[in-house]
Symmetry: C2
Subunit: 399 residues, 2 copies
């Protein structure tokens, strides 16, 4: 029986001969284990490299920053295409038959929402035909083809989605996402040196971690894998660490990890009882005002005497200005950070909230607001206290 493995390599893994050599070791190791590798690659390198996405974008943006999204996608798609050819050629040169396919050639069909296209369907046949000829298939990540034949891109993080969508369509045994970190960490190691690698994590936990600010894998990519129950493994191209396995059946701990987001402002709108208007109605109007101005809100607490929420630091002042103009009394607290404790097992486990509150209180952390969903408890704290908050929680919660 044909066992397919999808292996996705990011920009740093394909930027130079050194990275490609490491990537190819991984590909050949999979082949030696009896897998048929389907390889997904990002564009080569990062800022400044001639075929990196940002460099291609600057080619047109320096002429005029307003670029037609259809043409921009066509341009950007070349970055990944060049990368596939270089990778396939390197494999061929080493005597391992390989073929490079664009997203469209690989059967990835999307809508025409340029710059952020959704995959509508993956036709597995183009890749399977090559796999049956024992070829290593190298697919350009981050791209697909719209119904009218235009080239589309899937938005940032899109190569991961390419990988998991192929994994699902090809019924792969596993999708390996190669990056430059050893796996999904319990917490951002730049904030907390005691961060540990998670051996496994469930689909919904990793989605929540990403949503709450952890830079691991795009939630969209995880959802696609989840829909067909394809396990994902996050690995480091440059180390032999075992990495993190993402699957449905991952043992769910009470607490899995801590994520954070910085650059937030808290907006506090207090009830003004001076008008004839009903406060209930006014509160609704408040969100309408912000929506019409295109301002996104998060960590929302609607209370009898006031409404609290966060906006990005960049939107903070504008948000208050619009609300003032609309007749609201509003205060702005800048430089906030959101710390989120994530664990699918915390539901119904008594005392988690208590323990977190006590821990933060003991450390003198100023809790500005809280919010919780089924597997997450979030705290808004002053950004100056972020590191300390993460540290005491990480230590207390058992890593």
């Amino acid at each position: 029986m044909v066992k397919i493995i999808v292996q996705k390599f990011g920009g740093t893994s394909v930027a130079d001969g050194e990275g490609r050599a490491r990537a190819i070791e991984r590909i050949l190791a999979a082949k030696a284990e009896g897998y048929q590798p389907v390889v997904v690659v990002s564009a080569m390198g990062r800022k400044g490299a001639p075929y990196a996405t940002d460099t291609l974008i600057s080619l047109v943006k320096e002429i005029n920053p307003e670029v037609n999204p259809r043409e921009l996608d066509l341009l950007i798609s070349c970055g990944e295409i060049i990368s596939t050819v270089v990778m396939a050629h390197t494999l061929n040169s080493m005597g391992h038959p390989a073929i490079a396919l664009t997203g469209g050639q690989a059967g990835i069909k999307t809508d025409a929402n340029f710059g952020n296209a959704q995959i509508l369907e993956v036709d597995p046949m183009p890749i399977l035909r090559q796999v049956m000829e024992d070829k290593i298939v190298v697919v350009a990540g981050f791209q697909g083809i719209a119904p009218d034949g235009s080239i589309t891109t899937l938005g940032r993080g899109g190569s991961d989605t390419t990988a998991t969508a192929l994994g699902a369509a090809l019924q792969a045994e596993v999708v390996e996402i190669y990056t430059d970190v050893d796996g999904v960490m319990t917490v951002d190691p730049r904030v907390e040196p005691e961060a540990k690698i998670l051996e496994e994590i469930s689909y919904r936990e990793v989605c929540e971690m990403a949503y709450q600010g952890a830079k691991v894998i795009h939630p969209r990519a995880v959802e696609v894998a989840m829909s067909r129950q394809v396990p994902i493994r996050i690995k480091n191209t440059f180390s032999d660490a075992k990495g993190t396995l993402i699957s449905q059946s991952a043992a769910e701990r009470v607490i899995t990890g801590i994520a954070h987001l910085t650059g937030l402002s808290q907006v506090r709108v207090l009830s003004s009882r001076d008008g004839q208007q009903n406060w209930q109605l006014v509160r609704v109007k408040l969100f309408r005002v912000l929506a019409e101005k295109g301002i996104s809100v998060d960590v929302i607490s609607v209370l009898p005497d006031g409404v609290y929420f966060t906006v990005s630091q960049a939107d903070g002042f504008k948000a208050c200005q619009y609300l003032h103009e609309a007749g609201f009394a509003c205060e702005l607290v800048e430089n906030c950070a959101k710390v989120s404790v994530i664990g699918a097992g915390m539901q119904g486990v008594p005392g988690v909230m208590a323990e977190i509150m006590e821990t933060l209180y003991s450390a003198g952390i100023d809790i500005l607001q809280t919010s919780d969903s089924d597997i997450t408890i979030s705290f808004l704290v002053p950004e100056s206290q972020l590191k300390e908050a993460v540290h005491v929680l990480h230590r207390k919660l058992g890593w």
Copy 2:
């Protein structure tokens, strides 16, 4: 009625903002005259530029010079795609609605002969749909799509073929080929300073000029235009010269121009009557020996006592070696040049050959061999005498 004009711009015309500005002047001038422009572009710039064809090729060739032709085509195609996006974007930015199309998106269907694909069919609908919306269509030159969806390239000079194939399929009024010279010249101006621009030339004359070494337009591109009688105009992006019109009905002069090829060696195989073999048969074997070694021959004179032909200088020594091994007595004359006098009107005009011979003799030119076809008379001369031979002929033949 919709009048379509196809305008093709080469590498130097799209390499930088200056070139693009000139190109766009030409496009807008055509629009102002009531044409719907369909623009074909080459890759940006020449050697060394990051998106030039040669630079893309070196990306993989420096890993291993043996590149799979399918992957090489996919890689190269990005050069023209990037160029289309930059051009379409520049037009859009100036308020002229434009759309960029890859060769495949533009309906150019080829065989799967990678690196040198033949256009099998052009579906005019994708471009016409855009033209009907009054868009300037910018098409990536030099590429198409194979029946299996692979990207192909049309070989060197292929962007000209893209332009004329589109001209034919769209029933364009004219195909304009923009380059960095003022038109088709009577002779290479680097060899003969008195070279003049030809106002018009017939399809078959320009094909013969190109075949005999003049760097004007690829014969394949001309043949495609000829099949549907689409006139071609060769113009200079950077000057207002009228250029050269290529068409069926161009008045055919007795002599149209002089072309030349350098870097040739003459091989002289003399009859050896020492064997039992028949010389007639041996002469056949001679060409078989060379064919099996992949050596191309030109200017062939098969005579009772010997066989004369030319090969490229690079093949000269090898050719003689193979022939020696096969038992032939053979001499090599290196550093030869072929001068060809082309004119569709010379057929049946008495005295042309006489005039040429006399002219060359008077100038002391050593004629090593001659050959002639319906519209061409060629002379093999020592390369050291090329300039003088061209000069006296050019002056004598009436320019």
